[in-house]
Symmetry: C2
Subunit: 344 residues, 2 copies
């Protein structure tokens, strides 16, 4: 009983004693069906538990599938979750379903997942790339797939994108620390083959140069992938002969790891910390975590707006590369004074 195959229009037609096409008309709400037949069909639909088969319908109509893919770094992460939610909220209004997956920075997985989605004929794709080059998407874009890259700029191919102003954000963070008297500011970031990580590092470097802060390789850590990596890296910074007086953490997870390392060394109230990207309890930590907030909902909303525009066939328009501003949120950890301030 449970393994029975689904009822088709054929079955409904037979039960209602009408033709296939009449069932189709009723199901699609087309005009020109007498009340009596319509009632008979609706009754049969009800009795058989008939459900419209969108796959067959789309095949015949040559229509789009009203589905999109969203590939992010890790769905567990607050950033990805918030982004996906923003996308989903808009998608639902349009009756578009969202297929999502995590890439874990694995290029191979990105390529495979995109292929699977394309074979399912998604209409659009929102991608936070794990690959270093997205030119493999060229045939899909040519074939009409709408793609918007988020969080990172596209590489090897021209595509719409929406990113945060990473370099400016981090620079603002460093400015903020310098304004509070810090001259020895460390940076802890992700692998620089991730463009976002590279941009943030560049923002740090330019601010350090501009402000004439201590510019030493040992203050710059990259390649902190896991929370454990990040925590070890911060612990190592704190153990330097001349440790930094402030830390700029370039990502969500790294910020939390830094808090943990500072706690372990009982230096939470001595060493300043500015993070990048907000997280739910940042204001509840002691001290509160000052950080550069990116507009994650804005990122998702703009990406989805652009995607829907492309899906509606807004061709010809040049590629958009939107950069959303960041904001600094003061909460305490970034306002711990440095040596230059203490001198006063």
């Amino acid at each position: 009983m449970a393994e029975r195959t689904r009822a088709t229009m054929q079955h409904v037609a037979a039960l209602a004693g009408v033709s296939l096409k009449t069932v189709s008309r009723v199901v699609n709400g087309e005009p020109g069906v007498s009340e009596e037949l319509e009632a008979r069909v609706r009754d049969a639909v009800q009795r058989l538990g008939y459900r419209h088969n969108l796959a067959a319908s789309n095949l015949r109509r040559g229509r789009r599938t009203a589905s999109i893919g969203v590939l992010v770094q890790d769905l567990r992460n607050d950033f990805s979750g918030e982004l996906l939610r923003a996308v989903e909220d808009i998608a639902r209004l349009r009756g578009v379903v969202v297929m999502s997956s995590s890439l874990d920075e694995e290029p191979q997985r990105e390529v495979e997942l995109v292929r699977g989605l394309v074979e399912r004929r998604i209409d659009g794709l929102i991608l936070m790339p794990a690959t270093e080059d997205q030119s493999y998407l060229l045939p899909e874009v040519h074939a009409g797939l709408a793609v918007v890259v988020v969080d990172r700029p596209p590489r090897g191919i021209s595509l719409d994108s929406v990113t945060a102003d990473n370099a400016a954000g981090v620079a603002a963070g460093v400015d903020h620390l310098a304004a509070h008297g810090h001259r020895r500011v460390a940076f802890v970031g992700d692998d620089t083959h991730i463009p976002t990580a590279a941009d943030r590092r560049a923002g740090y470097l330019s601010a350090v140069a501009r402000l004439g802060l201590d510019d030493e390789p040992e203050l710059r850590v990259t390649g902190a992938r896991t929370p454990q990596d990040a925590e070890r890296a911060v612990a190592a910074l704190l153990a330097l002969d001349r440790p930094p007086t402030a830390i700029m953490a370039a990502r969500n997870v790294i910020t939390i790891a830094a808090v943990r390392a500072l706690r372990a060394a009982s230096l939470s109230h001595q060493i300043a910390l500015v993070g990048f990207d907000d997280f739910p309890t940042a204001d509840l930590l002691e001290p509160g975590v000052t950080l550069i907030k990116q507009d994650v909902v804005g990122l998702g909303t703009r990406a989805m707006d652009i995607l829907l525009g492309r899906m509606d066939g807004e061709a010809g328009v040049g590629w958009r590369n939107e950069v959303l501003p960041t904001t600094l949120v003061e909460r305490g950890s970034g306002e711990i004074p440095g040596p230059a301030a203490r001198r006063h």
Copy 2:
């Protein structure tokens, strides 16, 4: 150019100078195609950017779509994110794509989304229900849709389910508080029309009765939906003539709101707090938040295991209703001594 329609096997066949069926054979890796033709076909596939159309293929083959739906409360929430990720990890190994959506406790949305997913012929559904009665799923289950309900027991219909032992978990939390000398323990939970919330409240009530703790209606708050609700509710508890000496928070978001309210009243170190469901920075708050941890990954993993079993046609077996145990994690906030302890 961008609006061109996708190449079909027809086009590939024409370009390669072979029949449609030969293309099909090559694409599906069927044996019995000469090397020369296979090479010609592969070349044409490459040139045209041909991508297999799974919808048409499934239609013809009568196969399943290798896609499932996952409907959760809110993708932004750590709980939902973690759950989705656990499901996704298993799905990917099987080449199954996951369509996810948030329900925001809106029954209507659940019904609509399920319909949309069924019309897309998903093979399975993992559902954290927002409806009070899931009997509307009966026709779908009859038609062969595999369904597993998570986090909450199914109602109005028999289905497989995986839930945490909510009542026992909360009772353990209250036990813990009582063991630390508290006799006046408040409870803050969600709307009791959500079964999980009702179970947790029941666990609280049974523990209070069993231990002979203060049993007063004013100590029991339900209906805390938003963080703001919860924060106000806790503030109100603290403002009582005889305020509680300990608080049992029944959900993630409520726990964080409680921390916020206690902070605002400068009572974080006076009033004990035990939460339900872990969150990433619980150990970093001051004091660390003691809570009842549910095995979210286990929840997702078991649900997916059962779902895949059903999808593979494991019929006949009775419905499984798995209940996963919870664990208490001591971090400080739950070990703040109460009056009975202080007397010693």
